[in-house]
């Protein structure tokens, strides 16, 4: 396996994403817009907003990641790049790894930077905001990897984007449940390493182990 390939593909994808019109900020914008819409729907009262902050943050992350990742394999599958790669390379793992890195840089990282701002705007206690953001950082890989797997499915389907979201939703449920409850524990001052936090971390590690091979299987099936 050559990780030079990983570096080359990640560099290409990032330079495409960050050039003018590349749209790297779409995920971040969706994240912010979702949080604002949720606040509009819930009303301006602090009594309702502050307890809802973790739920809104995780939902925003789930949807914005899902939408940001939805067409990540489409270009490579359509122009034949992925076919050539699959024929040439022993393993598609370096390629999938490059995609993970790209998603981290263009979707996950901006969300992690924006999370403390949104939490503060929702009236979360300021001294717990950084710890809550760390919870967010630990749970985000799970969401990202599930979205990546369903994006690989979408690459082989007509109108795959919506279906990818439908398939991803039930699998994201555990991350959502433990992410929200771990963040609530932190915001209410019960300490960082709650049992929920440990499970959330375990989920991220579990998905990191399980998702890449399944994604590669699906990509190879999509190429046929």
């Amino acid at each position: 396996m050559s990780f030079g390939l990983t570096r080359a593909i990640a560099a290409r994808d990032l330079s495409i994403a960050f050039r003018a019109g590349g749209g790297w900020f779409y995920a971040l914008m969706f994240f912010a817009v979702f949080a604002a819409m949720a606040a509009l729907a819930l009303g301006p009262g602090r009594l309702l907003l502050a307890p809802a902050a973790p739920a809104v943050l995780w939902l925003a992350a789930a949807f914005s990641t899902q939408f940001a990742v939805a067409d990540i394999f489409e270009g490579d599958a359509n122009d034949g790049f992925l076919h050539a790669l699959a024929a040439e390379e022993e393993s598609l793992f370096p390629y999938v790894l490059a995609k993970v890195l790209t998603v981290m840089a263009t979707s996950a990282l901006p969300q992690v930077v924006a999370a403390p701002i949104i939490l503060t705007m929702y009236g979360a206690p300021v001294d717990a905001v950084i710890a809550a953001t760390m919870v967010f950082l630990m749970g985000l890989p799970g969401i990202m990897l599930i979205a990546l797997f369903t994006a690989a499915l979408a690459a082989g389907l007509r109108a795959g984007g919506m279906l990818a979201t439908l398939i991803a939703a039930p699998f994201m449920a555990p991350v959502l449940i433990f992410g929200v409850s771990a963040m609530k524990k932190v915001l209410n001052g019960y300490g960082f390493w709650s049992p929920e936090m440990l499970v959330l971390t375990a989920l991220s590690l579990f998905f990191a182990a399980v998702i890449p091979p399944f994604t590669i299987f699906v990509l190879r099936a999509a190429l046929e």
Binding site: L163, L166, I167, P170, F171, P174, I177, L203, F214
Partner: protein
């Protein structure tokens, strides 16, 4: 291993399915009538729940079968994944609809039972929620088969989705249990024996047998229909092209 590989032959499998299907239907009909009659008319009322306990005879087997069907679907997907077994693909595909219907039935009967007992049609209790999520998993799996035109490609996608779903379902169950629980604990499979009286247990088991036979019947009938469809398509392909040659009307007989 040999059992698995020999039934990869559709003709061989069809023989087996043809033999089992009427038998499964017979078991279903007998057990269903017996279970419903005993359960609905001759079993005692519950001392707390009254007559609404009878929903149990429809609800509990449905919930069991919802989970059994998914396990079956996942096992077939694993077989298909390992051996590239086309019949196993079809079995998994055809098991999805009955499984989804069992899940929906369990949710519906649960809601009907919940109204008089808990005072609400729906509560976000752990078991209800995880059954709802299971329904979504079923629907996602079925959507894969619908969305991909090429059958062999659809099969490869569907196998992987089924397997990843199978890994995730215990995790979802665990997390939803953590999230909330209100549902009564299991009262049939327990270390100290069942807590339900035999007069209620008998119709319950009859219904469980009926549901299982119904599942077998429906799944096998579905696979047989699929195989027949495949054969018809192949036959149409192999058939000599019959081009209708009409005598040109311009060439009218001379004489």
């Amino acid at each position: 291993m040999k059992v698995i590989t020999q039934y990869a032959n559709p003709a061989k499998f069809e023989q087996l399915a043809k033999a089992i299907t009427p038998f499964a239907f017979g078991v279903f009909a007998v057990a269903c009538v017996f279970g419903l009659v005993i359960g609905l008319f001759f079993s005692p009322e519950d001392y707390q729940q009254g007559n609404s306990v009878r929903i149990m005879y429809v609800h509990v087997p449905a919930a069991w079968m919802a989970m059994f069907s998914y396990s079956f679907l996942a096992a077939m997907s694993l077989i298909a994944f390992v051996w590239r077994h086309n019949v196993a693909d079809l079995l998994a595909k055809e098991a999805a609809l009955p499984g989804a219907v069992f899940t929906a039935l369990a949710l519906f009967t649960g809601a009907v039972w919940g109204k008089p007992t808990w005072g609400a049609w729906w509560v976000w209790d752990a078991r209800l929620t995880s059954m709802l999520v299971l329904l979504f998993v079923y629907l996602g799996y079925m959507a894969i088969w619908q969305a991909v035109e090429d059958t062999s490609k659809a099969a490869r996608f569907a196998r992987i989705v089924a397997l990843i779903g199978f890994i995730n379902i215990p995790i979802i169950k665990f997390s939803v249990d953590w999230w909330n629980t209100l549902h009564q604990p299991a009262s049939i499979i327990r270390a100290d024996g069942p807590t339900i009286h035999v007069s209620m247990l008998m119709p319950l088991f009859a219904m469980l047998i009926a549901y299982t036979a119904f599942f077998v019947w429906l799944t096998l009938a579905g696979v047989r229909a699929e195989l027949m469809g495949l054969r018809a398509a192949q036959k149409a392909q192999r058939a000599p092209r019959t081009v209708s040659v009409k005598p040109a009307t311009a060439e009218a007989p001379h004489d």
